[in-house]
């Protein structure tokens, strides 16, 4: 076992982690631990853009952006946080441009902007051009640009280091941060990183579902680690299903396709969004569009041999526009479905996409251990965190924004903390839990296979805890998860080696997925209303009297499948906007 000491340790090298690293490295001795090479992070998959009220192409301001964010989130957004994000958005985009990001340009040479779902002028009047973009690879450009600047600033990376535990120590009855424990993929060695401050930036957990736009590696590690250490998870029942995944595959086609003029049609060619959102139609927020699509299919108006998808129609757009503005998604449709969007309709269906919930933080990105107690030295930013700027439903482009604004804030806050505090002492045997986790799995002799349990988990989640939910389906999912937890105890890892043991790590990641699936389902069962991304058929209305509050889920300690979930609630911060009915 090796021990390292750093002022700040950042876990994750996606957009949030690297944006934090750029700030922190300048101010304090910083290490970035990442299970993937930084440029493999899933921020690189983001396509459509990053919103900021630059007003480069038409009138706009950050207050309109804030309103849209709050309304889009079905009023579960903490409005102070949304206001900060939308104000700081403008500098966040300009900073990226100065770092070298090649944005698409207007004829005047300014950063170009395009329409995106739920972003409107003057509180809902009409769609506004707010999304700054680089073709349909904005996330790729952000990830590359941040990595390039990390190279420039000499950021210290530990690549292919899997963080498996967070070290919290009790002092004066309070939890404090002392570091993390990591597993090195290349050697199998366990490393303890003693740190004054830790930032979690580990991204989402889309792999809980089968049909997803998320990478195989998005297994919610940071969330699950925090949860296992007794920290709460906030609003986990709010998970976004993006309307346009390639049917059957889940590979994403950006909402930018509809921003450029694309239209959703059912089997008979009807533009069904006209019925659902008469003002902004296909550019309604994602939760509404996804529900409308599922409704079309359920009511028999789906397309294809099994009538189980709808179409995205781009055929009326000029070929040049498609190829210039949407080159990557055009290629995805050609490669994976053999369909050419220039001349053919593309089969699409909702795909598990984004976690609105996560590790609760305040606007300084400090992690909370209950409704208002800060864990000194612990920070979280990006998809792993819940500030909460996305509430019950995230607007497109607001995550690339979130990772830049709150990633930056986390880097500054963690470095400042480290510069004004001492190391918390390491506990006696800081790696004990990790060693027993790893050894337990490696020596397990049962007959259960990781891939089989993962497949069954994803199947039940797709079937029972997707776009529409009911008490009955959620209970079914819950029962299945309990059974899968029991099976998980009898898992056999076939690779017993030390070097590049991905078999072992997949088993550990599956354990994280099971925890998070359970929290998601229990939160969904307890929230007896429909709001944003959480749609209960048995409670179709939003219930502000009982549920205008965040869910806080805590782990009830117990061994393995004996553990349970305790649900508590936290008030929503409302500043300017009183909840209204959400119509578009």
């Amino acid at each position: 076992m090796q021990t390292h000491r750093f002022d700040v340790v950042i876990v994750g090298a996606g957009g949030a982690g690297m944006r934090a690293a750029l700030e922190s490295t300048k101010r304090a001795r910083t290490a970035v631990l990442t299970k993937l090479y930084p440029t493999r992070s899933h921020t690189g998959a983001a396509q459509g853009g990053m919103c900021a009220a630059l007003a480069n192409v038409e009138e706009d301001n950050w207050e309109w952006h804030t309103f849209d964010t709050v309304k889009g989130g079905d009023y579960l957004v903490d409005q102070d946080a949304a206001e900060i994000m939308c104000k700081e958005a403008i500098d966040a985009v300009i900073d990226l441009e100065k770092m070298g990001l090649p944005f698409n340009r207007t004829p005047e040479g300014r950063i170009d902007q395009r329409r995106f779902g739920g972003h409107t002028r003057n509180h809902g009047e009409a769609a506004v051009r707010r999304s700054c973009y680089a073709a349909d690879r904005t996330g790729h450009m952000i990830l590359q640009t941040l990595y390039q600047n990390c190279v420039k600033e000499g950021v210290e990376f530990y690549n292919e280091f899997y963080v498996l535990d967070l070290i919290l120590v009790e002092r004066d009855g309070r939890k404090e941060t002392a570091g993390v424990v990591a597993y090195e993929l290349a050697t199998g060695a366990i490393h303890v990183f003693h740190a004054k401050a830790v930032i979690f930036a580990t991204g989402g957990y889309g792999k809980v579902w089968k049909t997803t736009s998320n990478a195989h590696t998005l297994t919610g590690d940071g969330m699950a680690i925090a949860y296992r250490r007794g920290l709460p998870l906030e609003d986990m029942e709010f998970y976004q299903f993006h309307p346009t995944g390639l049917a059957g595959l889940g590979v994403l086609l950006t909402e930018g396709a509809r921003g450029e003029g694309g239209i959703l049609r059912n089997a008979s060619g009807e533009r069904f969004m006209e019925r659902v959102a008469p003002t902004i139609k296909d550019l309604a927020p994602r939760d509404m569009v996804a529900r409308a699509m599922v409704a079309e299919v359920r009511e028999g108006r789906g397309a294809g041999p099994d009538k189980d998808y709808v179409y995205l129609d781009l055929t009326h757009l000029p070929k040049e526009q498609i190829e210039a503005k949407l080159p990557d998604i055009t290629e995805f449709a050609r490669t994976y479905l053999g369909v050419d969007p220039v001349t053919e309709l593309v089969p699409v269906f909702p795909t598990a996409h984004y976690a609105m919930g996560g590790i609760p933080t305040n606007v300084e990105t400090e992690v909370l251990s209950d409704n208002d107690t800060v864990v000194p030295g612990l920070y979280a930013a990006g998809e792993v965190a819940c500030v909460s700027v996305h509430g019950a439903n995230r607007l497109g482009t607001n995550s690339l924004l979130d990772i830049n604004v709150f990633g930056r804030r986390a880097g500054i806050a963690a470095a400042d903390f480290a510069n004004s505090h001492d190391f918390a002492p390491l506990p006696e045997d800081p790696a004990a839990y990790t060693i027993s986790l790893v050894e337990g799995l490696r020596s397990g002799a049962g007959g259960e296979r990781v891939a089989a349990i993962r497949r069954d988990l994803q199947q039940t989640m797709d079937l029972n805890a997707q776009v529409y939910r009911t008490e009955a389906t959620l209970k079914e999912a819950f029962t299945d998860i309990q059974e899968l937890r029991r099976r998980y105890r009898h898992i056999a890892v076939q690779d017993k080696g030390a070097r590049y043991n991905t078999d072992l790590l997949e088993a550990i990641e599956l354990g994280f997925l099971l925890d998070l699936a359970e929290v998601t389902v229990v939160g969904a069962l307890e929230r007896k209303e429909s709001r944003g991304g959480h749609a209960r058929e048995d409670y179709p209305g939003r219930d502000d009297v009982n549920y205008m509050r965040h869910t806080m889920a805590y782990r009830i300690p117990g061994a393995g499948d004996e553990s349970g979930v305790r649900i508590d609630y936290k008030p929503v911060t409302i500043t300017r906007y009183q909840p209204m009915e959400r119509k578009y």
């Binding site: 340009r105 790729h140 190279v151 089997a267 490669t335 590049y500 078999d503």
Partner: protein, 249 residues
């Protein structure tokens, strides 16, 4: 203008078939040398090679080791030699590989670590060596730097690189001369040398003019053929060579 709405016939249902994979295995703890192993797996023609590898790992042999993340060709994790050609396993469909057996091995020219995993450090070191970041001079503007659409178009192609190493590890010069930067690093340099906002061209050209630099390239076009992002790698290298000769970008 209006689209045809029942565009394609409802596609006939496709059946999976048994596909034979020959995979070059190497377990560092137990093997002295790599060897080939055969697996038969049931796969749909539209499955990705990555899907089949994951199926083999999940159902037959958990020790089979490879990198993967995004699953759709944007993270650059899974470049490998498939039927003798460098490609991304997640962007190669079974049906595009004919009906015979499919061979899979690690990319060449980087130290083999285990099965399909190579040590990527030398590759990233070459990338870092060409100063892959915007270098500017003069005062920072308060707003964004201006750049016309035409200026941006000049280097658009090379911004697409996902650092998968398919090009570099298909280059015969790189195989024999590990000092050579390799195509991917030159692509990264190109992306900045031809960016109208950048002022670091001189420094980068100096680096690429060294003996490990662009002059090693023998224009075999392997890199361009291998690039899963469709980047015209050889063309980019030629443009860098020309910039060196004329010292003008």
């Amino acid at each position: 203008m209006t689209a045809t709405l029942e565009p394609t016939e409802a596609p006939a249902r496709i059946e999976p078939r048994d596909v034979t994979f020959k995979i070059r295995r190497f377990i560092p703890e137990t093997d002295d040398d790599p060897h080939w192993e055969e697996y038969v797996v049931s796969a749909y023609p539209t499955d990705r090679v990555l899907d089949a590898l994951m199926k083999i790992k999940g159902e037959q042999d958990g020790t089979l080791t490879f990198r993967r993340s995004c699953g759709h060709g944007i993270c650059g994790s899974d470049a490998m030699r498939i039927n003798g050609r460098n490609r991304l396993a997640c962007k190669t469909l079974i049906k595009d590989l004919g009906t015979g057996e499919i061979t899979v091995e690690a990319i060449k020219g980087l130290p083999l670590e285990k099965d399909l995993v190579v040590d990527m450090e030398p590759f990233f070191a070459a990338y870092r060596a060409v100063k892959p970041f915007l270098i500017t001079d003069g005062h920072e503007p308060t707003k964004e730097r201006l750049q016309s659409a035409e200026e941006r178009a000049v280097f658009d192609d090379t911004t697409k690189c996902i650092l998968c190493a398919a090009c570099t590890t298909s280059c015969p010069v790189f195989w024999t001369d590990e000092q050579y930067f390799g195509p991917a690093a030159i692509v990264a340099a190109h992306r900045f040398i031809f960016d109208s906002r950048d002022a670091g061209a001189e420094a980068r050209l100096e680096i690429l003019n060294e003996k490990e630099g662009v002059w090693r390239c023998r224009t075999t076009f392997n890199c361009t053929d291998a690039c899963p992002r469709g980047i015209e790698v050889t063309k980019a290298i030629q443009q860098v060579k020309r910039a060196l000769i004329f010292r003008r970008v």
